[in-house]
Each structure stands twice: as structure tokens, then as C-alpha cells.
Subunit: 385 residues, 2 copies
């Protein structure tokens, strides 16, 4: 299958590209590389040095004999570039990771908020128009986030909700209450995409993904050039990655507030599995399909306790610090999010065992010298504007 990975230079995009290429698909990567610039703005360095995308792709061809095509350009500011790529490559599936992915980044001030929403919303609009123009049958697998839902007091369904109101019934998009300008950009995308399915008959799978953890996939470990960008900093890092880096370095874990915040989580290996299941079982023409993509729910306190326990087993004392919450969010709440659709399709989850954490711990330990302690303290506060 011809699969276009948009954002194929990123934490998940690059492993996804290698994954599909190793399965024999015809893979192309599209990326603007602007994420590397955003990281530079905050001095956020990945834990393990990341090669250039050109080096990665060349190395991949050398190691496997498989070619990954590379298109460098910005889909949000240069729609002609995107039109050309879609026209020439004629993708059967588009996996769309090409967005600004950080909630704190989007909350750093007006420019960052506007840049996040402009980049994400306009890039996705341009993709919709490019497909409608040259590849209307292509299946879009769009990365959204569980954070779009917020923490409602009712069960979270997978995208759509069957509703009865005053004795009448309808099926509606699940009401969302996102927690940052970044999360809002994903909600805007979902609404725009649902409309494109309705009026143009595009086919879209919207993945509301949980928080991803993990560094390694079968491909990233093949060569130092295939490593993916593992962030532990307070801007681009996700919580479990950050906790393990803190623990290994003897820094107290920074739990925001009470720590009862509960979210869905998944291993990077399951991101690959889910995206593959979605690609192999496309949405119908005109269908806007939503899957909740995570395998387990944890509270932040749960995760801190797991890291503490694994540390103890490895002879390291881990201190847990409850710091003032930089975000505006409920710290104790109901949370029950459905995630049966991928299970029904055959997902075999990689759960968060102590062994998994210990293996991450070991990888982090080997790269301990590169950790910048100052990067893990949150400086971006939701209330400040």
C-alpha cells in the first residue's frame, strides 16, 4: 500500500514510517522539520541524539534495501507543495502526525497559541482540499488526543454518542472539553474533518490517542541513526518518560497538584499496532470514524508509585514531589473512557509492567549524562495568558 506519513520526522512518525516500510509498504515521509525548531526555541534536546531525517532515510535504505521517499515542506503555509505531493505519490493511506504536539507550548503566550492553532488547523484543511482534489479515495488516519474529551463526569465513548433527549434520539459527536489551546486545535480539526466526510465523502479515522510512553521499537534499536526523539522536558516530554528521567537522576518526581488526574496511556509499540490496524481496515467513503487509542488508565499518582517501586527494586530511592499545578484541570475526578474498538480489531496490548519501566530505566541510565535538570521544571502556567 502507498502510505504517506505526515510528520514522519517526529517521535511517533519516524517509527511509524520504519514500521510500515519493514512490512513491505511503499512509504513516503512528509515533514517541515519545524518541530526541530520549536524544540530549539526551548532548548529541549531529546535524551538520545537524533539524526537528520536524510541520514535516517539513507541509513534505512542501506540497512533494509527499502526506500522511503522524503518530501520536505510545510503543509500549513505551502499548500502547493502539499498538492504536488498528493498528486504525485497518490497515497492510499495518509497517517497525519504533522501537528504541533505540545499543550504547554500552546499555552506559553499569544504567539504560541495562535501558531499552534494556525499550523494544526490550516495544515489539516490543506490536506482535506488536496485529497478532495487529487486522491479522494485515500484514507486519512488522523492523530488526535484523549485530551480533547477532558474529564467529563460521564463515560467517554469513542467519538460518537447515542443520545436521547426529551424523548427523541440522535447520534452526535461526543461533547468535548479540551484542556489547552493545543487540545482545542485537535477538536477544531475533528470538526473540520467530520464536515469533509459529510460533504465530500472523504474517509477519515480520527485517533484519540492517550499519552504515549516508551523509547524502543524493533526498528529504532537496529541502528543509532534510527533512534526516535525521546523528550523528558516539561514542554515536549510526556509524563512517564519525564518521571523515569527524574528518578534515574535522583530528581524528585514532579506530580502536578494532587495527582489524581487520570488519563489513558499506551506503549509506543501499541501506537504502531493501532495505526496499522486502522490503515489495514479503512473507514468507508464518507465515514468519520473515531477510535480511542490507549490500553490502560492511570492517575499521575499511580505512575509515580510505579516508578518509585521499580526504583526501589533497582536500589534507588525515588522521591515524589507534589508541586503547584501549572495547568487548570480537575485533580480528582471520574474517568472511564471506552477503548474496545481496537481490542475488537485484534490489538494485543503491551501493558505497563514493572519490567517495561525497568527497561526504560536502563535506557535512560545509559544516557544519563545528557539530561539537563532545568528542563523538567514546568515554567508555563495556564493562568498567565
Amino acid at each position: 500500500m502507498r502510505i504517506l506519513i505526515m510528520g514522519g520526522d517526529g517521535y511517533l512518525g519516524w517509527p511509524t514510517a520504519m514500521h510500515f516500510s519493514s512490512k513491505g509498504h511503499d512509504v513516503a515521509i512528509l515533514d517541515s522539520l519545524v518541530k526541530r525548531y520549536w524544540e530549539a526555541e526551548f532548548g529541549a534536546e531529546p535524551l538520545i541524539p537524533v539524526s537528520s531525517i536524510q541520514t535516517r532515510v539513507r541509513g534505512w535504505e542501506r540497512a533494509t534495501g527499502r526506500k522511503i521517499q522524503l518530501y520536505i515542506g510545510d503543509i500549513s503555509t505551502n499548500h502547493r507543495f502539499l498538492y504536488d505531493v498528493i498528486e504525485r505519490f497518490q497515497p492510499e493511506a495518509v497517517v497525519h502526525y504533522a501537528e504541533q504536539p505540545s499543550a504547554p507550548y500552546s499555552m506559553f503566550g499569544r504567539e504560541y497559541c495562535v501558531e499552534t492553532q494556525r499550523n494544526n488547523v490550516v495544515g489539516t484543511l490543506n490536506l482535506m482540499f488536496a485529497l478532495q482534489r487529487s486522491a479522494p479515495d485515500a484514507h486519512v488516519v488522523k492523530l488526535g488526543t484523549m485530551g480533547e474529551y477532558g474529564t467529563p463526569n460521564i463515560d467517554i465513548e469513542e467519538g460518537w454518542l447515542d443520545i436521547t433527549h426529551n424523548g427523541r434520539q440522535d447520534r452526535v459527536l461526543f461533547p468535548k472539553k479540551p484542556g489547552s489551546f493545543y487540545h482545542l486545535s485537535k477538536v477544531h480539526d475533528s470538526n473540520n474533518l467530520e464536515f469533509a466526510c459529510r460533504i465530500w465523502g472523504l474517509r477519515v479515522t480520527d485517533l484519540n490517542q492517550g499519552v504515549v510512553y516508551g523509547i524502543e521499537t524493533p526498528q529504532t534499536t537496529m541502528d543509532k541513526d534510527f533512534v526516535t526523539s525521546f523528550h523528558y522536558d516539561a514542554v515536549f516530554g510526556t509524563v512517564l518518560n519525564r518521571f523515569i528521567v527524574q528518578a534515574v537522576n535522583g530528581i524528585p518526581l514532579t506530580v502536578y497538584g494532587k495527582g489524581g488526574q487520570t488519563r489513558g496511556f499506551l506503549n509506543i509499540l501499541d501506537t504502531l499496532q493501532c495505526v496499522e490496524l486502522a490503515v489495514e481496515n479503512p473507514a468507508d467513503r464518507g465515514e468519520f470514524r473515531v477510535f480511542n487509542q490507549f490500553t490502560e488508565q492511570f492517575s499521575i499518582n499511580d505512575l509515580a508509585a510505579i516508578v518509585q517501586r521499580v526504583g526501589k527494586g533497582l536500589g534507588q530511592d525515588v522521591v515524589v514531589d507534589h508541586i503547584a499545578n501549572p495547568r487548570v484541570e480537575l485533580e480528582e475526578h471520574y474517568y472511564n473512557a471506552k477503548h474496545s474498538k481496537f481490542s475488537d480489531m485484534g490489538l494485543q496490548p503491551h501493558l505497563l509492567t514493572d519490567d517495561v519501566v525497568a527497561r526504560m530505566w536502563e535506557t535512560v541510565r545509559q544516557n544519563q549524562a545528557r539530561v539537563h535538570h532545568s528542563l523538567v521544571q514546568p515554567d508555563i502556567k495556564w493562568k498567565q495568558g
Copy 2:
């Protein structure tokens, strides 16, 4: 009260500015004048010539002795200008009409879609940041549209919905299913504003306004320079205005498809009344309040029949034509939208009587020579992309 009218050069903005000024408020208008450019792109001329905003404001001062301050600039591309206006004028209320207001415009192609969403979403984001920075206590009265809801098979509540799901309860934003990229931009705005109320404690009233009809307010008729822009064309005109222009000119009324499409409608006089009620009874700090702003529901066929009946009384045969629907929408559907909040606050509706239509008919007849027949045929098709 210090009231800032954003988009104060528009169809509703200018009458709103005069209305508040005549009541003794301290009014300022902010406008980029870009709407005049958008009209020029399509050759859409208002039925009655509209004076420049400078002439309007000078004339208003001459006629009433009341000064309306004027700020010309673009809130979506020049946030420093907006920051300055908010800082200097220190509004107590901001009435925000400053958006691209046409669904067909937003559906004319990629540039128009992107320009609509960028202009509307970024302009509103910039306003949120400007208020948070310099006037966090100001009350925002934001113009949205009933079209954000679409045509669900359940009753439409006013913005929020009390929901019971699997035995648990929550209050959620009413699920929306907008029918154009323009309507989507308003949904994005609502989601962004609700978040700003939650994290910064802004106070916002979101008005989901029905389709407005009418030409005259007590102020627009005072002087030829005070006339407001009445559009009858297929891009910027609303349906009843267009039908009356067609009827007066002996052109068949263009009903899109079956004509069972039902919407909420209101007289321009009730727009003024509703906005005033909202301004005089502000939302609380942190409150995101939603009112459905319309007085009556009609189907498109209902409106055509009314115009036909009024025409008959005036001795003119009116032909109703059902043309291929350029939009993608349900043409027969359930529609029951609540609109009791403004009634509870004291709204005295101006209903759509035959006399009201006859009065509009007469005004249109006096300006009949200026009608361009080609402008009323819809050229913009939802399916074409």
C-alpha cells in the same frame, strides 16, 4: 457604559453602534474594512449605497452631538493594534461582530475556507489575549450562529445540555454539526472562548443568532449616510432579503432543493434588542453563557409563501423556483430550537407579519434600479471543494 463594537462597519455592527450611542453609551467602533474588499471580490453591492465609515461617524456626530470613536485595523493580523485599542478604550463590554459572515464565501475554495477560519479564529484568540492582558473584567458579547447546531433530530438547547449517560450526569456543550467552513469557524470560536472563561475567568455571552432580515432601524432611517448594508446576493445576502429583491424584480424565488430547511429568524430590530439585553445583563466572571437569538422558526418554503402572498396583495405575481441545492444539508428534518432566555429577560419580538414584508418590499422597490440580477444565482457549490 464603554462599549466597543468590533465589526462596527457591518450590516449589524453599524446599527448596533448607533443604537448604543443614541442610548447615551460611550461607543467605539473597531473595523478592518476588509468586508468591503470581500464584497468587491464578488461584485456584491449593497442594495442601497453605503457611506464610508468615516462619513457615517462624522454624520452621526453632526446629527446627534454624540461622538463614536473609530479604530481602523485588523484584529487577526495585527494584535498590537488590538492590544492598544483595548488598553486605551478600556471597554466594559465588547460586542464582537468582526468576522467573515458568509457560508458560501467560505465554501468557494481552499483560500476562502482558510481565510475564513484564520480570520475568525485568530481574531477571536487575539481578543481573548488582549482582554486577559488589559481588561479581564470586560464582558464579551460574541456573535455566533444557530447554524452551528445544524439540524439535529433532538431539541436544540441554549448552548449547554444536561446529559444522563449510563446512569451518570454532566452538563456539556451542546453537540454541534455545522454546515459550512464559516459555521465551523464559529464553533471553533465558541470552544476557544469557553476555555478562556474556564482558565482566565473571562466573561462571555455567545449569541447563536438566527438569520436576520430587515433594513431599517430607528437610526438607519435618520439620514442617507446612516443606511446599513443590505445584501441580496447569493454570497452575502440572507434568504428573506434575497426573496424580496427577487419578487420585486419579477425574478423567480430561488428555493434551494425541497425547501423544507427550517431555521430560526429574527428582525434586525430584535438583534439590537437582544445585544442590548446581553450587554445590560453581563455574564459572571468565568461564565460562558449561550443564548439562542431568534424569534420565530420558518422553513424556506414558508418564507417563499409569505413573499408570494404579500406580492399578490401588491398586485405582483411571484414565481417560486426550486433549484438544485448548492449546499449539502437536510431538506426535510426535525427542528425545535429553544429560545426562551431572551424572552425571560424581556425581549419584545418584532414578528414577521405581512406588513413587515410589505414595508421591506417598498424599500426594495424604491431601489429597484440598482439590483443586479446575476448576483442572486448561487454559483458556489458545497460538493466541489
